[in-house]
Protein backbone atom coordinates (compact mmCIF):
# COMPACT_ATOMS: atom_id res chain seq x y z
CA UNK A 1 0.00 0.00 0.00
CA UNK A 2 1.58 3.22 -1.14
CA UNK A 3 0.37 6.19 0.88
CA UNK A 4 0.72 9.66 -0.67
CA UNK A 5 3.16 11.86 1.20
CA UNK A 6 1.76 15.21 2.11
CA UNK A 7 3.41 18.35 3.44
CA UNK A 8 0.86 20.11 5.61
CA UNK A 9 2.66 23.35 6.37
CA UNK A 10 4.35 26.12 4.42
CA UNK A 11 7.51 28.05 5.16
CA UNK A 12 7.53 30.34 8.21
CA UNK A 13 4.36 29.04 9.75
CA UNK A 14 3.92 29.09 13.49
CA UNK A 15 3.17 25.67 14.87
CA UNK A 16 2.44 24.36 18.35
CA UNK A 17 3.63 21.12 20.00
CA UNK A 18 1.86 18.08 18.58
CA UNK A 19 0.77 19.76 15.37
CA UNK A 20 1.05 17.51 12.28
CA UNK A 21 3.56 18.94 9.82
CA UNK A 22 3.66 16.19 7.22
CA UNK A 23 2.27 12.77 6.42
CA UNK A 24 4.01 9.94 4.66
CA UNK A 25 7.66 8.95 4.52
CA UNK A 26 8.96 11.51 2.01
CA UNK A 27 9.98 14.15 4.52
CA UNK A 28 12.58 13.90 7.28
CA UNK A 29 12.15 15.14 10.86
CA UNK A 30 14.75 17.84 11.55
CA UNK A 31 15.51 19.82 14.69
CA UNK A 32 12.44 20.58 16.78
CA UNK A 33 10.30 17.93 15.08
CA UNK A 34 9.81 14.19 15.49
CA UNK A 35 8.36 11.24 13.63
CA UNK A 36 5.43 9.25 15.02
CA UNK A 37 4.44 6.44 12.67
CA UNK A 38 3.80 7.98 9.29
CA UNK A 39 3.46 11.53 10.59
CA UNK A 40 5.98 14.24 11.39
CA UNK A 41 4.91 16.37 14.34
CA UNK A 42 6.11 19.59 15.96
CA UNK A 43 8.20 18.95 19.07
CA UNK A 44 7.98 22.52 20.36
CA UNK A 45 6.42 25.91 19.64
CA UNK A 46 8.31 27.19 16.61
CA UNK A 47 8.53 28.62 13.11
CA UNK A 48 8.71 26.12 10.23
CA UNK A 49 11.78 25.99 8.05
CA UNK A 50 11.84 23.63 5.09
CA UNK A 51 15.37 22.55 4.19
CA UNK A 52 15.03 20.34 1.13
CA UNK A 53 13.14 17.33 2.46
CA UNK A 54 13.92 18.07 6.08
CA UNK A 55 11.40 19.89 8.25
CA UNK A 56 12.93 22.03 10.96
CA UNK A 57 11.52 24.37 13.58
CA UNK A 58 13.13 27.66 14.55
CA UNK A 59 12.56 28.52 18.23
CA UNK A 60 10.48 31.60 18.95
CA UNK A 61 11.06 31.68 22.66
CA UNK A 62 12.93 30.01 25.44
CA UNK A 63 15.98 30.40 27.60
CA UNK A 64 19.48 30.24 26.21
CA UNK A 65 20.74 26.76 25.34
CA UNK A 66 24.57 26.74 25.65
CA UNK A 67 26.38 25.63 22.47
CA UNK A 68 30.02 25.00 21.71
CA UNK A 69 31.78 27.95 20.04
CA UNK A 70 29.18 30.51 21.15
CA UNK A 71 30.63 33.80 22.40
CA UNK A 72 28.74 34.80 25.53
CA UNK A 73 28.78 37.37 28.29
CA UNK A 74 29.21 35.56 31.58
CA UNK A 75 29.37 36.58 35.22
CA UNK A 76 31.66 35.17 37.91
CA UNK A 77 29.60 33.57 40.67
CA UNK A 78 32.21 31.52 42.49
CA UNK A 79 35.97 31.17 42.77
CA UNK A 80 37.76 27.97 43.73
CA UNK A 81 41.45 27.12 43.72
CA UNK A 82 41.16 25.63 40.24
CA UNK A 83 39.28 28.40 38.51
CA UNK A 84 36.03 30.35 38.29
CA UNK A 85 32.37 29.36 38.07
CA UNK A 86 30.58 31.45 35.46
CA UNK A 87 26.85 32.22 35.20
CA UNK A 88 25.88 31.81 31.55
CA UNK A 89 22.31 33.13 31.82
CA UNK A 90 20.98 29.60 31.33
CA UNK A 91 20.13 26.66 33.57
CA UNK A 92 23.80 25.64 33.55
CA UNK A 93 26.84 27.41 34.90
CA UNK A 94 30.24 27.03 33.28
CA UNK A 95 33.76 26.40 34.52
CA UNK A 96 36.75 28.50 33.51
CA UNK A 97 39.99 26.87 34.54
CA UNK A 98 43.14 28.82 35.41
CA UNK A 99 44.75 27.82 32.13
CA UNK A 100 41.86 29.27 30.14
CA UNK A 101 41.55 32.62 31.88
CA UNK A 102 44.33 34.60 30.30
CA UNK A 103 46.98 34.47 27.61
CA UNK A 104 49.55 35.30 30.27
CA UNK A 105 50.67 32.57 32.61
CA UNK A 106 48.89 32.39 35.97
CA UNK A 107 50.94 30.80 38.75
CA UNK A 108 49.48 28.09 40.90
CA UNK A 109 48.45 29.58 44.22
CA UNK A 110 48.11 33.05 42.73
CA UNK A 111 45.29 35.26 43.99
CA UNK A 112 42.63 34.52 41.40
CA UNK A 113 40.53 37.53 42.37
CA UNK A 114 43.20 39.69 40.77
CA UNK A 115 42.17 38.29 37.41
CA UNK A 116 38.41 37.87 37.75
CA UNK A 117 36.56 38.70 40.91
CA UNK A 118 33.06 37.75 42.12
CA UNK A 119 30.47 39.69 40.17
CA UNK A 120 32.81 40.54 37.29
CA UNK A 121 31.36 40.26 33.81
CA UNK A 122 33.46 38.84 30.98
CA UNK A 123 33.30 38.02 27.29
CA UNK A 124 34.17 34.35 26.90
CA UNK A 125 33.83 31.53 24.42
CA UNK A 126 32.19 28.17 25.11
CA UNK A 127 34.80 25.53 24.40
CA UNK A 128 32.85 22.44 25.37
CA UNK A 129 29.36 21.27 26.36
CA UNK A 130 28.95 17.66 27.53
CA UNK A 131 25.74 15.64 27.31
CA UNK A 132 25.29 16.33 31.00
CA UNK A 133 25.50 20.04 30.17
CA UNK A 134 28.83 20.53 31.89
CA UNK A 135 30.25 23.61 30.24
CA UNK A 136 33.79 24.89 29.79
CA UNK A 137 34.53 28.47 28.80
CA UNK A 138 37.67 30.32 27.91
CA UNK A 139 38.68 33.99 28.06
CA UNK A 140 41.87 33.31 26.16
CA UNK A 141 41.87 34.60 22.63
CA UNK A 142 41.07 37.66 20.54
CA UNK A 143 38.05 39.60 21.69
CA UNK A 144 37.73 37.68 24.95
CA UNK A 145 38.31 39.66 28.10
CA UNK A 146 36.97 40.99 31.38
CA UNK A 147 34.38 43.73 31.11
CA UNK A 148 34.75 46.93 33.10
CA UNK A 149 32.15 49.63 33.54
CA UNK A 150 29.28 50.17 31.15
CA UNK A 151 25.99 48.38 31.46
CA UNK A 152 24.78 44.83 30.83
CA UNK A 153 21.25 44.45 29.54
CA UNK A 154 19.28 41.29 28.92
CA UNK A 155 17.48 40.47 25.68
CA UNK A 156 15.68 37.36 24.46
CA UNK A 157 18.36 34.98 23.08
CA UNK A 158 16.38 34.31 19.92
CA UNK A 159 16.46 38.03 19.05
CA UNK A 160 20.26 38.11 19.11
CA UNK A 161 20.65 37.48 15.34
CA UNK A 162 18.42 40.48 14.67
CA UNK A 163 20.38 42.71 16.98
CA UNK A 164 23.66 41.68 15.36
CA UNK A 165 22.20 41.90 11.86
CA UNK A 166 23.45 40.40 8.59
CA UNK A 167 27.23 40.36 8.85
CA UNK A 168 27.02 42.58 11.88
CA UNK A 169 25.29 45.42 10.03
CA UNK A 170 22.79 46.28 12.76
CA UNK A 171 25.22 46.37 15.66
CA UNK A 172 27.77 48.32 13.57
CA UNK A 173 25.15 50.94 12.93
CA UNK A 174 24.38 51.12 16.65
CA UNK A 175 28.06 51.58 17.44
CA UNK A 176 28.46 54.26 14.83
CA UNK A 177 25.43 56.22 15.96
CA UNK A 178 26.14 56.07 19.67
CA UNK A 179 29.91 56.00 19.83
CA UNK A 180 29.51 53.20 22.34
CA UNK A 181 31.35 49.94 22.64
CA UNK A 182 28.81 47.14 22.21
CA UNK A 183 29.28 43.40 22.62
CA UNK A 184 26.32 41.10 21.97
CA UNK A 185 26.52 37.69 23.69
CA UNK A 186 24.77 34.70 22.11
CA UNK A 187 23.27 34.07 25.54
CA UNK A 188 21.12 37.20 25.40
CA UNK A 189 23.36 39.52 27.43
CA UNK A 190 24.52 42.72 25.76
CA UNK A 191 27.28 44.96 27.11
CA UNK A 192 27.19 48.66 26.29
CA UNK A 193 29.75 51.27 27.28
CA UNK A 194 29.89 54.95 26.45
CA UNK A 195 28.39 58.20 27.59
CA UNK A 196 25.39 57.59 29.87
CA UNK A 197 23.04 59.36 27.44
CA UNK A 198 24.25 57.30 24.53
CA UNK A 199 24.04 54.06 26.50
CA UNK A 200 20.38 54.89 27.13
CA UNK A 201 19.90 55.41 23.41
CA UNK A 202 21.47 52.05 22.62
CA UNK A 203 19.20 50.31 25.11
CA UNK A 204 16.11 52.03 23.75
CA UNK A 205 17.11 51.07 20.22
CA UNK A 206 17.71 47.46 21.19
CA UNK A 207 14.26 47.28 22.81
CA UNK A 208 12.82 48.72 19.62
CA UNK A 209 14.60 46.06 17.58
CA UNK A 210 13.20 43.40 19.92
CA UNK A 211 9.64 44.68 19.60
CA UNK A 212 9.72 45.18 15.84
CA UNK A 213 11.93 42.26 14.87
CA UNK A 214 9.14 40.80 12.79
CA UNK A 215 8.82 43.78 10.45
CA UNK A 216 10.44 44.04 7.07
CA UNK A 217 12.97 46.75 6.39
CA UNK A 218 13.93 46.89 10.05
CA UNK A 219 17.51 47.97 9.34
CA UNK A 220 16.32 51.04 7.42
CA UNK A 221 13.79 51.85 10.10
CA UNK A 222 16.41 51.70 12.82
CA UNK A 223 18.82 53.76 10.74
CA UNK A 224 16.22 56.52 10.37
CA UNK A 225 15.41 56.32 14.09
CA UNK A 226 19.06 56.66 15.09
CA UNK A 227 19.67 59.51 12.65
CA UNK A 228 16.70 61.34 14.12
CA UNK A 229 17.83 60.79 17.68
CA UNK A 230 21.47 61.74 17.19
CA UNK A 231 21.31 64.19 14.28
CA UNK A 232 24.16 62.23 12.73
CA UNK A 233 23.91 60.87 9.21
CA UNK A 234 24.88 57.22 9.19
CA UNK A 235 26.65 55.35 6.44
CA UNK A 236 24.48 52.82 4.61
CA UNK A 237 24.76 49.07 5.34
CA UNK A 238 28.25 47.82 4.41
Amino acid sequence: MNKMSKLLVTEKEIVVPGEVLAEGMDNLPGVGTYRDGDKILAGRLGLTYIDGRTLKLIPLSGRYNPKKNDIIIGKVIDISFSGWRIDTNSAYSAMMSISEASSSYIQKGADLTQYFNLGDYLVCGITNVTSQKLIDVSAKGPGLHKIKGGRVIEVSPYKVPRIIGKQGSMVSMLKQASGCKIIVGQNGLVWVEGEPDKELLVERTIRKIEDESHLKGLTDKIQKFLEKETGVKLGGPQ
Partner: protein, 239 residues
Amino acid sequence: MSYKKRLDGRGFEEFRKVEAKVGVIKRADGSAYFKFGNTWAYAAVYGPRNLYPRFLQDPSKGILRCNYNMMPFSSSGERVRPGGSRRSKEISMVTAKALLPVLNLEEYPNSVVDVFIELPETEAGSRTAGINAAAMALADAGLLMKDLVSSVSVGRVDDKILVDLDYSEESYEDGPVADIPIAIMPSSGKITLLQMDGLVSKEQLSKAIEMGKNACQKIYEIQKKALKEKYNNVKGDAE
Protein backbone atom coordinates in the same frame (compact mmCIF):
# COMPACT_ATOMS: atom_id res chain seq x y z
CA MET B 1 -36.84 13.56 39.09
CA SER B 2 -34.46 13.82 36.23
CA TYR B 3 -31.99 16.57 35.45
CA LYS B 4 -33.46 17.58 32.13
CA LYS B 5 -31.96 20.92 31.27
CA ARG B 6 -28.71 22.44 32.54
CA LEU B 7 -29.20 25.19 35.05
CA ASP B 8 -27.40 27.72 32.89
CA GLY B 9 -29.03 26.53 29.68
CA ARG B 10 -25.94 24.98 28.10
CA GLY B 11 -25.99 21.92 25.86
CA PHE B 12 -24.83 18.67 27.48
CA GLU B 13 -21.61 18.70 25.45
CA GLU B 14 -21.03 22.41 25.76
CA PHE B 15 -18.38 23.85 28.03
CA ARG B 16 -18.67 27.27 29.64
CA LYS B 17 -17.39 30.38 27.88
CA VAL B 18 -13.63 29.95 27.46
CA GLU B 19 -10.97 32.63 27.36
CA ALA B 20 -7.29 31.88 26.71
CA LYS B 21 -4.34 34.24 26.45
CA VAL B 22 -0.60 33.63 26.23
CA GLY B 23 2.26 35.81 27.52
CA VAL B 24 0.52 37.47 30.45
CA ILE B 25 3.31 37.50 33.06
CA LYS B 26 6.26 39.39 31.61
CA ARG B 27 8.97 38.20 33.99
CA ALA B 28 8.21 34.53 33.47
CA ASP B 29 9.87 32.45 30.74
CA GLY B 30 6.40 31.40 29.62
CA SER B 31 2.90 32.23 30.82
CA ALA B 32 -0.78 32.02 30.00
CA TYR B 33 -4.22 32.18 31.53
CA PHE B 34 -7.26 30.02 30.86
CA LYS B 35 -10.87 30.60 31.92
CA PHE B 36 -13.88 28.29 32.05
CA GLY B 37 -16.73 30.66 32.88
CA ASN B 38 -15.88 32.16 36.27
CA THR B 39 -12.96 29.82 36.91
CA TRP B 40 -9.74 31.60 36.06
CA ALA B 41 -6.25 30.11 36.20
CA TYR B 42 -2.93 31.84 35.55
CA ALA B 43 0.14 29.72 34.86
CA ALA B 44 3.75 30.89 34.83
CA VAL B 45 6.77 28.80 33.87
CA TYR B 46 10.36 29.42 34.93
CA GLY B 47 12.86 27.07 33.39
CA PRO B 48 14.86 25.23 32.68
CA ARG B 49 16.76 26.78 35.54
CA ASN B 50 19.21 25.92 38.30
CA LEU B 51 17.99 23.47 40.88
CA TYR B 52 19.09 23.77 44.50
CA PRO B 53 19.78 21.98 46.73
CA ARG B 54 22.10 19.85 44.64
CA PHE B 55 20.85 16.52 45.92
CA LEU B 56 17.53 17.11 44.19
CA GLN B 57 19.18 17.21 40.77
CA ASP B 58 18.66 14.29 38.38
CA PRO B 59 21.55 13.78 35.94
CA SER B 60 19.32 11.92 33.48
CA LYS B 61 16.61 14.56 33.11
CA GLY B 62 15.13 17.81 34.34
CA ILE B 63 12.62 17.86 37.19
CA LEU B 64 9.13 19.28 36.81
CA ARG B 65 7.72 21.10 39.84
CA CYS B 66 4.11 22.20 39.88
CA ASN B 67 2.55 24.47 42.44
CA TYR B 68 -1.22 24.94 42.36
CA ASN B 69 -2.63 27.64 44.61
CA MET B 70 -5.99 29.36 45.06
CA MET B 71 -5.83 33.05 45.93
CA PRO B 72 -7.52 33.91 49.26
CA PHE B 73 -10.38 35.75 47.53
CA SER B 74 -10.97 33.16 44.82
CA SER B 75 -13.84 31.31 46.45
CA SER B 76 -17.40 32.55 46.15
CA GLY B 77 -17.86 31.40 49.74
CA GLU B 78 -15.50 31.92 52.62
CA ARG B 79 -11.96 33.22 52.26
CA VAL B 80 -9.35 30.57 51.50
CA ARG B 81 -6.56 30.46 54.04
CA PRO B 82 -3.27 31.17 52.26
CA GLY B 83 -0.55 28.54 52.42
CA GLY B 84 -2.12 25.70 50.52
CA SER B 85 -3.89 22.66 51.82
CA ARG B 86 -3.74 18.92 51.36
CA ARG B 87 -6.15 19.38 48.47
CA SER B 88 -3.90 21.88 46.71
CA LYS B 89 -0.87 19.65 47.23
CA GLU B 90 -2.69 16.75 45.64
CA ILE B 91 -3.80 18.88 42.72
CA SER B 92 -0.20 20.10 42.28
CA MET B 93 0.90 16.49 42.07
CA VAL B 94 -1.75 15.26 39.58
CA THR B 95 -1.14 18.35 37.47
CA ALA B 96 2.55 17.52 37.24
CA LYS B 97 1.69 13.94 36.31
CA ALA B 98 -0.72 15.19 33.67
CA LEU B 99 1.97 17.34 32.04
CA LEU B 100 5.02 15.05 32.36
CA PRO B 101 4.21 12.68 29.47
CA VAL B 102 4.51 15.47 26.88
CA LEU B 103 7.71 17.05 28.13
CA ASN B 104 11.15 15.98 26.86
CA LEU B 105 12.95 16.61 30.11
CA GLU B 106 15.94 14.43 29.16
CA GLU B 107 17.09 17.45 27.18
CA TYR B 108 17.52 19.39 30.42
CA PRO B 109 19.53 17.24 32.84
CA ASN B 110 20.20 18.49 36.38
CA SER B 111 17.78 21.39 36.02
CA VAL B 112 14.24 22.22 37.10
CA VAL B 113 11.17 23.51 35.27
CA ASP B 114 8.88 25.31 37.73
CA VAL B 115 5.20 25.72 36.91
CA PHE B 116 3.15 28.04 39.13
CA ILE B 117 -0.62 27.92 38.82
CA GLU B 118 -2.55 30.66 40.64
CA LEU B 119 -6.31 31.14 40.57
CA PRO B 120 -7.93 34.50 41.27
CA GLU B 121 -11.40 33.05 40.75
CA THR B 122 -12.62 29.47 41.20
CA GLU B 123 -16.04 28.07 40.47
CA ALA B 124 -15.55 24.39 39.64
CA GLY B 125 -13.08 22.95 37.17
CA SER B 126 -10.11 24.76 38.65
CA ARG B 127 -7.60 21.96 38.15
CA THR B 128 -8.60 21.54 34.52
CA ALA B 129 -8.27 25.29 33.87
CA GLY B 130 -4.88 25.12 35.56
CA ILE B 131 -3.68 22.29 33.33
CA ASN B 132 -4.84 24.09 30.18
CA ALA B 133 -3.02 27.26 31.23
CA ALA B 134 0.11 25.34 32.25
CA ALA B 135 0.35 23.51 28.91
CA MET B 136 0.23 26.81 27.00
CA ALA B 137 2.76 28.38 29.38
CA LEU B 138 5.19 25.48 28.90
CA ALA B 139 4.97 25.85 25.11
CA ASP B 140 5.36 29.62 25.44
CA ALA B 141 8.55 29.01 27.44
CA GLY B 142 10.01 27.24 24.42
CA LEU B 143 10.33 23.86 26.09
CA LEU B 144 10.68 20.73 23.99
CA MET B 145 7.35 18.96 24.19
CA LYS B 146 5.67 16.32 22.02
CA ASP B 147 2.19 17.72 22.41
CA LEU B 148 0.04 20.09 24.44
CA VAL B 149 -2.25 18.78 27.17
CA SER B 150 -5.94 19.63 27.10
CA SER B 151 -8.25 19.12 30.04
CA VAL B 152 -11.91 19.37 31.03
CA SER B 153 -14.17 18.06 33.77
CA VAL B 154 -16.91 15.72 32.66
CA GLY B 155 -19.64 14.77 35.06
CA ARG B 156 -22.66 12.76 35.74
CA VAL B 157 -25.73 14.47 37.12
CA ASP B 158 -28.69 12.14 37.57
CA ASP B 159 -28.90 10.16 34.35
CA LYS B 160 -27.12 12.73 32.20
CA ILE B 161 -23.46 12.91 31.24
CA LEU B 162 -22.33 16.52 30.97
CA VAL B 163 -19.21 18.39 29.94
CA ASP B 164 -17.67 21.01 32.25
CA LEU B 165 -19.75 20.87 35.39
CA ASP B 166 -20.22 24.21 37.04
CA TYR B 167 -20.53 24.81 40.78
CA SER B 168 -24.30 24.34 40.94
CA GLU B 169 -24.06 21.01 39.12
CA GLU B 170 -21.22 19.77 41.31
CA SER B 171 -23.34 20.46 44.36
CA TYR B 172 -26.58 19.09 42.88
CA GLU B 173 -28.51 17.41 45.65
CA ASP B 174 -31.52 15.83 44.00
CA GLY B 175 -29.71 12.85 42.57
CA PRO B 176 -26.38 11.09 42.15
CA VAL B 177 -23.44 13.17 40.93
CA ALA B 178 -19.97 12.25 39.72
CA ASP B 179 -17.15 14.64 38.84
CA ILE B 180 -14.58 13.30 36.39
CA PRO B 181 -11.65 15.57 35.52
CA ILE B 182 -9.81 14.31 32.47
CA ALA B 183 -6.78 15.44 30.47
CA ILE B 184 -5.47 14.16 27.15
CA MET B 185 -2.57 14.51 24.75
CA PRO B 186 -4.54 15.78 21.73
CA SER B 187 -2.45 14.23 18.95
CA SER B 188 -2.80 10.69 20.28
CA GLY B 189 -5.87 10.92 22.49
CA LYS B 190 -3.94 9.30 25.33
CA ILE B 191 -5.15 10.13 28.82
CA THR B 192 -2.78 11.81 31.29
CA LEU B 193 -5.25 12.77 34.03
CA LEU B 194 -8.25 10.80 35.20
CA GLN B 195 -9.99 11.22 38.51
CA MET B 196 -13.48 10.39 39.62
CA ASP B 197 -15.51 11.53 42.59
CA GLY B 198 -18.98 10.13 43.07
CA LEU B 199 -21.10 7.29 41.73
CA VAL B 200 -20.95 6.12 38.17
CA SER B 201 -21.51 2.91 36.21
CA LYS B 202 -18.88 1.55 33.86
CA GLU B 203 -21.02 2.44 30.83
CA GLN B 204 -21.53 5.98 32.07
CA LEU B 205 -17.79 6.31 32.64
CA SER B 206 -17.03 5.14 29.09
CA LYS B 207 -19.45 7.67 27.71
CA ALA B 208 -17.98 10.38 29.93
CA ILE B 209 -14.45 9.67 28.75
CA GLU B 210 -15.61 9.74 25.12
CA MET B 211 -17.35 13.08 25.60
CA GLY B 212 -14.37 14.37 27.54
CA LYS B 213 -11.94 13.50 24.75
CA ASN B 214 -14.11 15.31 22.20
CA ALA B 215 -14.34 18.37 24.37
CA CYS B 216 -10.58 18.32 24.92
CA GLN B 217 -9.97 18.36 21.17
CA LYS B 218 -12.00 21.55 20.95
CA ILE B 219 -10.01 22.99 23.83
CA TYR B 220 -6.76 22.10 22.01
CA GLU B 221 -7.92 24.26 19.09
CA ILE B 222 -8.47 27.15 21.50
CA GLN B 223 -5.03 26.69 23.11
CA LYS B 224 -3.44 26.50 19.65
CA LYS B 225 -5.11 29.70 18.57
CA ALA B 226 -4.02 31.55 21.72
CA LEU B 227 -0.40 30.49 21.25
CA LYS B 228 -0.36 31.47 17.58
CA GLU B 229 -2.00 34.80 18.34
CA LYS B 230 0.84 35.82 20.60
CA TYR B 231 3.45 34.96 17.99
CA ASN B 232 1.86 35.67 14.67
CA ASN B 233 3.81 38.89 14.42
CA VAL B 234 7.22 37.30 14.38
CA LYS B 235 7.41 35.75 10.94
CA GLY B 236 10.07 38.24 9.88
CA ASP B 237 12.62 36.97 12.39
CA ALA B 238 14.07 34.28 10.15
CA GLU B 239 15.26 36.76 7.53
